[in-house]
């Protein structure tokens, strides 16, 4: 079936209306700003210009956040107050505790592994002949969507009974080494580790590129001075490289932590949260939308928000201090 412009007409109309509305709003704002007396041009125009963004922020972020928080104190169908029941479920029910435990494993392991692998890789390939190629290769998985990566790795872990032809890379290797094929994704807690590998595989390239750029930005006088003082490669790494690129390492750690907390796609694609592999974001979706337990889903969402907040706070503070240092 081809693309029928006429049939899509209403959508184009909506698009046009949207664009027109945008221009009208901008024109009205500019007109308003223009009317404001010159001497008061500092505060009021700023407020006027900020108003639309603020309105969108309130509608798109503040209102839903408040509503979610309210829902987390209500029953599954949202019709009666249940106090802290949803939270006590989250912290006491075995299946919910498993979810929290898994999320913790993800959040501790992924940023550490990604940063460590990215850093070592960046240092090792730094200034070698094949640096570009090596960096492109490790960067490639980043171009794959999480769902795509999940499907690829599902094949890597695929299982066929002993004796049958293995279609999974990992089991083929195991069989080649004389072992028996295993069902990697079925046995907790190891299955969570096999899922973590997938995210590390995707994100290591990001860490490599960011950290490699930071390494290249280390002033050469510092490295030369260290070398003249007779620093061994080991000392170079720990005493010069790592301290110099500390801000970049923190950026990688922080972005990875936040990204991992929100992780959903890989778990959902590969196990659907079965076999004790569920994480907060996946469980939140399942509770709220599949089981119709909006209260429990909202409680998980609020908890996730609470977990992310300190990391963002830390990031903002770090940014501010750096700006003060620079300024």
């Amino acid at each position: 079936m081809g693309f029928d412009f006429a049939a899509e007409g209403p959508k184009f109309m909506q698009l046009l209306i949207g664009i027109a509305a945008f221009f009208v709003v901008v024109a009205v704002l500019l007109l308003l700003v223009d009317r404001v007396p010159m001497r008061r041009r500092a505060r009021l125009p700023a407020a006027i210009m900020l108003a639309p963004a603020l309105a969108l922020l309130v509608i798109g972020l503040v209102v839903p956040a408040v509503r979610t928080t309210v829902l987390s104190f209500r029953s599954g169908d949202g019709r009666s107050w249940v106090g802290l029941d949803n939270y006590s479920w989250m912290l006491s029910a075995p299946e919910a505790v498993t979810v929290l435990r898994n999320t913790l494993a993800w959040v501790v392991l992924v940023p550490l592994l990604v940063t460590a692998i990215g850093l070592v890789y960046a240092v090792v390939v730094d200034n070698t002949r094949f640096e570009r190629l090596a960096k492109s290769l490790v960067f490639l998985p980043l171009a794959i969507s999480f769902v795509g990566a999940g499907i690829i790795w599902k094949f890597v872990y695929a299982y066929r009974p002993p004796g049958a032809e293995q279609i999974g890379l990992l089991n083929q290797l195991v069989v080649g080494l004389g072992g028996t094929p295993k069902q990697w994704l079925l046995d907790p807690p190891l299955n969570t580790l096999f899922l973590i590998v997938v995210l590390v595989w995707i994100q290591a390239g990001f860490a490599t590129v960011v950290l490699s750029a930071a390494i290249k930005a280390i002033p050469s006088d510092i490295t030369e001075a260290a070398r003249l003082d007779g620093a061994s490669p080991w000392q170079m790494f720990w005493r010069v490289t790592v301290p110099s690129i500390r801000p970049a390492v923190i950026v990688v750690l922080v972005t990875q932590s936040i990204g991992t907390l929100k992780l959903f796609d890989i778990v959902r694609t590969m196990t659907g949260g079965q076999f004790d592999t569920s994480v907060i974001a996946n469980e939140m979706y399942a509770q709220a939308f599949r089981y119709g337990e909006t209260g429990k889903g909202a409680a998980l969402a609020v908890f996730l928000f609470v977990l992310v907040t300190p990391i963002i706070g830390y990031q903002i503070r770090a940014l501010r201090t750096r700006r003060q240092e620079v300024g």
Partner: protein, 447 residues
């Protein structure tokens, strides 16, 4: 409210055309200028003429089956001028909630879960079915089928397709070669399984992996066996939570399933140890039967469309199914399921389509196109695509059949589409019966 007179309707349609900037109007105007004129359209004149209108349908049915539906109502759409905007999704249960909450409900939805219908009725979102639909449904279906969408004495929609779940697929060829007999009682079934196992083949194969819905084939197993272990009354009490989920009777039924599904001598033919059931896609669960690596696979009538195209589905062919036996040959409880057509809107064109879908004409034309089972009594069995469809419909319309709807579809979604599936997956993966059922019982919504 009376319908607008003809000129008024044309004007309305014209206005709709201008506002929508749609070309679809041109053709529908042509139709409306001579509604019911051709012989082809004569049977559809009773649904009226609704040029320029659109009815959106949201459904879990996709691919080939969905194409057959589109083809079935194509003439209806042409003659009434209604454009049917069909959308099939693999995540119906979650997405219908999102659409309704988002203020964007479809006009019609095909619900496979009466439990979900109940939730939307309680939330005040669904419209009661028009009188004509109710009359058609009463005429075409047994009372059993009507009660699933009758909530607080109000009727919300007629059934659409159906399936029979109490089937065990097997290979008639293999049975003939090895001299196996189709079992008539549960004891015969176990005896047969032992015999096959002694011949060096793992008798049973199964797969319960189904993406988001992983675990559902195992819940069907439990329901089917509970119908036999406890009888229909216990089954009803269990579904409505009059007895707890971890009642001893349920424990017994689950253990009886376990004597097959968790028995390393019996499973998983062609795939490996017991826990390979959890990672085998349900579509592939029975396929080893075609290679002789497995002999028995309990799955619904619709499994007939999953066999390789080369396998002949017939009593003397490569694969066929027998009725999952009861405790003795005279007890024949049947587990089944189906979809229900319910409406979120009550515009005349929506009701016209709803009415058409409830007729036996619709079921008959749908059946002529591709495999389809309907419990509609007006269906001509000669239209059945294969012997399994025919057998299923015979069972469904037999007044002596004790029919029960798939329990997990009747329970609250938190259990029926959540912890029951998850629990059974964990159970297959090694968790014991008691703690699995305790977990499910604890998750039953309190209210």
């Amino acid at each position: 409210m009376s319908l607008p007179t003809r000129p008024a309707r044309l004007v309305l349609a014209g206005v709709a055309c201008v506002t929508l900037v749609a070309t679809g109007c041109g053709s529908s105007n042509d139709d409306s200028s001579s509604p019911g004129a051709s012989a082809e359209c004569a049977p559809y004149s009773q649904y009226g003429s609704h040029p320029g209108t659109t009815v959106s349908v949201y459904s879990p049915i996709r691919d080939k089956e969905a194409d057959a539906f589109l083809q079935t109502w194509a003439t209806f759409a042409k003659c009434t001028g209604i454009k049917v905007d069909y959308e099939g999704t693999g995540e119906f249960e979650a997405q219908i909630q999102v659409r309704v909450d988002g203020g964007n409900p479809p006009d019609l939805a095909f619900f496979p879960q009466p439990g979900l219908v109940d939730r939307f009725v309680k939330a005040g979102k669904l419209k009661t079915a028009p009188e004509k639909v109710k009359a058609l449904a009463t005429q075409n279906w047994t009372a059993d089928w009507l009660k699933y969408t009758t909530i607080d004495r109000k009727f919300y929609g007629a059934p659409l397709g159906s399936n029979v779940k109490s089937f065990v697929w097997y290979s008639p060829k293999m049975f003939k070669e090895k001299g196996y007999q189709v079992p008539e009682t549960w004891d015969d079934l176990i005896e047969l399984s032992d015999k096959i196992a002694a011949d060096g083949v793992k008798p049973w194969c199964a797969g319960i992996e189904s993406g988001d819905a992983t675990g559902w084939p195992a819940t069907d197993w439990i329901e089917d066996v509970l119908l036999r272990e406890g009888g229909p009354d216990v089954y009803d009490q269990w579904v409505t939570h009059k007895i707890p989920f971890n009642d001893q009777k349920i424990v017994d039924a689950v253990d009886r399933v376990g004597s097959i599904l968790k028995n390393d001598k019996y499973v998983n033919g062609g795939y490996g140890p017991v826990n390979s059931i959890a990672s085998t896609a349900f579509q592939e669960g029975g396929i080893p039967i075609t290679t002789g690596k497995c002999a028995l696979h309990r799955q619904a009538s619709f499994y007939s469309s999953f066999w390789p195209a080369t396998a002949k589905v017939a009593p003397d062919g490569d694969v066929f199914a027998f009725y999952l036996p009861g405790n003795n040959a005279s007890e024949k409880p049947v587990l089944g399921a189906g979809e229900f057509v319910t409406a979120f809107a009550d515009r005349p064109e929506v009701q016209a389509l709803q009415e058409y879908l409830a007729t036996s004409d619709f079921a008959n034309s749908r059946m002529k196109l591709a495999t389809y089972v309907s419990a509609n009594k007006g269906v001509d069995l000669a239209n059945a695509q294969n012997p399994i469809d025919k057998l299923s419909m015979e069972i469904l319309r037999d007044p002596n059949t004790v029919f029960r709807f798939d329990g997990s579809d009747l329970m609250p979604a938190a259990v029926g589409a959540g912890t029951f599936w998850k629990g059974m997956t964990d159970w297959i993966n090694g968790k014991d019966t008691k703690s699995t059922l305790d977990f499910i019982e604890a998750s039953w919504p309190k209210s």
